[in-house]
Amino acid sequence: MTDPTPLVATRDLVKVYRMGDTEVHALAGVSVDIARGEFVAVMGASGSGKSTFMNMIGCLDVPTSGSYRLDGEDTAALRADDLASIRNRKIGFVFQQFNLLPRTSALDNVELPLLYAGVPPAERHERARAKLAMVGLDGRAGHHPSQLSGGQQQRVAIARALVNEPKLILADEPTGALDSTTSIEVMALLQALNRDGITIVVVTHERDIAAFASRTIQFRDGRVVSDARHVPRAAWTDPAPPSARAGSRDGARAGWQAPR
């Protein structure tokens, strides 16, 4: 992490949606730098532009104007397929609704990014298994999403986000579909990954969840209204294992062990 250039650098990012005759300014000039190794929470009410911002830095959408450099690379000139390649290599996504492929085993779900990266099958299986083990689901590789609990599904999704060794993980309301105990587990897992050097951006509207990050950016009406660093809330009292662990419905395996 000696690279001084920010991982994410946006300048005057503007996104305008056309809805009939009216123009909606989802982003009205956003300039944000996110350094390597940061854990950022993006907050704001619905319609504040936080999801649009997230889609921009995730290369899922292109800005109307303004520039975005990811890992020092200007994304403005890139075509859709180049953006797909960037998403594949540099970004891992975690969604509120998990977005796992139904009727597909956890292992196959985790392998998906490697499939599009052109990794040969044997290596694909091996790497996907390793990531499943990292999130504490090595015993569930053959299970389909419908056979897993919400927390387990989100952990499969996190393993999928991790499998191609991305620099940035973008989590859009990752705890929105989970109960509070499971939410804390998932946030602890993200904290552990962050400690290992991965940059994490979490979009949330819950203050409790944002507290796990070390920096919170507030959006309102397409603009950044506050940007503050703070001491993250610990998911458990280090180094003792969390009391939440005993109440975990996902079994005894710790999902938040630091990745090796």
Partner: protein, 410 residues
């Protein structure tokens, strides 16, 4: 992404909705099956006509004696033998388009071997006859020029006659009596089968035309060098209609007919009739295949329909695949492979069912059916093409989705 991995994804996707996949395939199964069965029936009909042409000999014209008018009485066809061996000899000599012209004398009579006998057609021929009819021998030898000159008492027997008199044993070398004249069998003719009008062409014995004239048929009609008919073979590649016209002119000239007189002979261009039949059977075959293709087209539209539904249903899946790095080409290939897999599996099942159907039609309707490897390959290729053609639009639609909109799709 490798094609194998894509194929695995496609198969998995098709397995998810088994009934729907099966019903979609059914459209292709019926289409390909119909194409296979119909082309088999069409090819069978064509082959039958081609066989008839082959049994007759190709580019064949038959000249028959015509009517003569004697004191205002028109005597009708064949009342007098107006053609001669000299006419037959003149035809290939004067007209380069004609390969051979074989004269014949025709009669009927009893043939006897031991204590069995059989009434058959007796044909007096020259060496040219087998050439003109493209008729080979199964065993024995053909007539030679000296056999004809010497009016040898030898005979070539047709299959039906041989079977009737000798059963399965080889008749060559035996002696039969034709109208009480003993003849040695020197050859057995190959099977010709039925003629176009259902006549048994194998129910015949061939003897030298000289023998027929002097010893067997005889009678007042069979004068000096007159013949009952001339079988003319036009050279391969020559214009048969043109040759026919030249022949008419030559014969009129040789018979010294005035411009106001009718022909005293008839010309029958049999291969023309047959090629017309062949053309109509070909049209029939094309028509059958075309009608069957319509059902294949309908099957293809079914695939397109289901693929469009599938793309809409799986929009979120497509969005997710794009989010984790699928390029538009990957998505295009995935859905295209799915469509082609549907149509190819349907095509294979259809080929099998079509083959069974054509065998059943042959068995129960008694129609001749012929299934060539080319028809199978064509049907296979066609069903793949249907998959690509009708799968392309839905696949392209999927590949052009915007990732973020696809992900948000409800």
């Amino acid at each position: 992404m490798s094609l194998l991995a894509t194929l695995r994804i496609a198969l998995a996707a098709l397995r998810v909705n088994k009934l729907r996949s099966a019903l979609t395939m059914l459209g292709i199964v019926i289409g390909v099956g119909a194409v296979i069965a119909m082309t088999a029936i069409g090819a069978g009909a064509q082959a039958r006509v081609e066989d008839q042409i082959r049994s007759l000999g190709s580019n064949l014209i038959i000249v028959l004696p015509g009517n003569i008018t004697s004191g205002g009485v028109r005597m009708g066809s064949g009342a007098q033998l107006t053609l001669s061996e000299d006419d037959a000899a003149a035809l290939p000599r004067e007209i380069p388009e004609i390969e051979v012209a074989a004269p014949q004398l025709r009669g009927g009579g009893q043939v006897v071997f031991g204590n069995s006998n059989w009434a058959t057609q007796i044909l007096g021929v020259t060496t040219d006859y087998l050439v003109a009819r493209e008729w080979a021998l199964e065993s024995g030898r053909e007539f030679t020029g000296s056999d004809i000159d010497a009016a040898a008492k030898i005979v070539l027997v047709g299959q039906t006659v041989a079977r009737t008199l000798f059963g399965e044993s080889d008749p060559v070398g035996e002696t039969i009596r034709i109208r009480n004249v003993p003849h040695e069998i020197v050859g057995l003719l190959e099977r010709k089968g039925q003629s176009m009008i259902g006549q048994d062409q194998d129910d015949v014995v061939l003897i030298p035309i000289s023998t027929a004239r002097k010893r067997v048929l005889g009678g007042q009609q069979v004068r000096a060098r007159n013949v009952g008919s001339i079988t003319v073979k036009v050279r391969q590649g020559a214009d048969v209609a043109h040759a026919e016209q030249l022949m008419r002119d030559l014969l009129r000239q040789r018979h010294r007919l005035q411009a106001n007189q009718e022909d005293d002979f008839f010309v029958r261009n049999l291969s023309e009739v047959l090629s017309a039949q062949e053309a109509s059977s070909r049209v029939l075959a094309i028509l059958l295949a075309a009608i069957a293709s319509v059902s294949l087209l309908v099957g293809g539209i079914g695939i397109m329909n289901i693929m469009l539904v599938s793309v809409t249903e799986r929009t979120r899946e497509i969005g997710l695949r794009m989010a984790v790095g699928a390029k538009s080409r990957d998505i295009l290939t995935q859905f295209l492979v799915e469509a082609v897999t549907l149509s190819l599996i349907g095509g294979i099942v259809g080929i099998v069912l079509g083959a069974i159907a054509s065998v059943l039609v042959g068995e129960f309707a008694g129609w001749r059916t012929e299934m060539g490897a080319d028809a199978v390959l064509l049907a296979f290729g066609f069903s793949a093409a249907v998959g690509v053609f009708f799968g392309f639009y839905p696949a392209r639609k999927a590949s052009r989705l915007v990732p973020i909109e696809a992900l948000r799709h409800e």
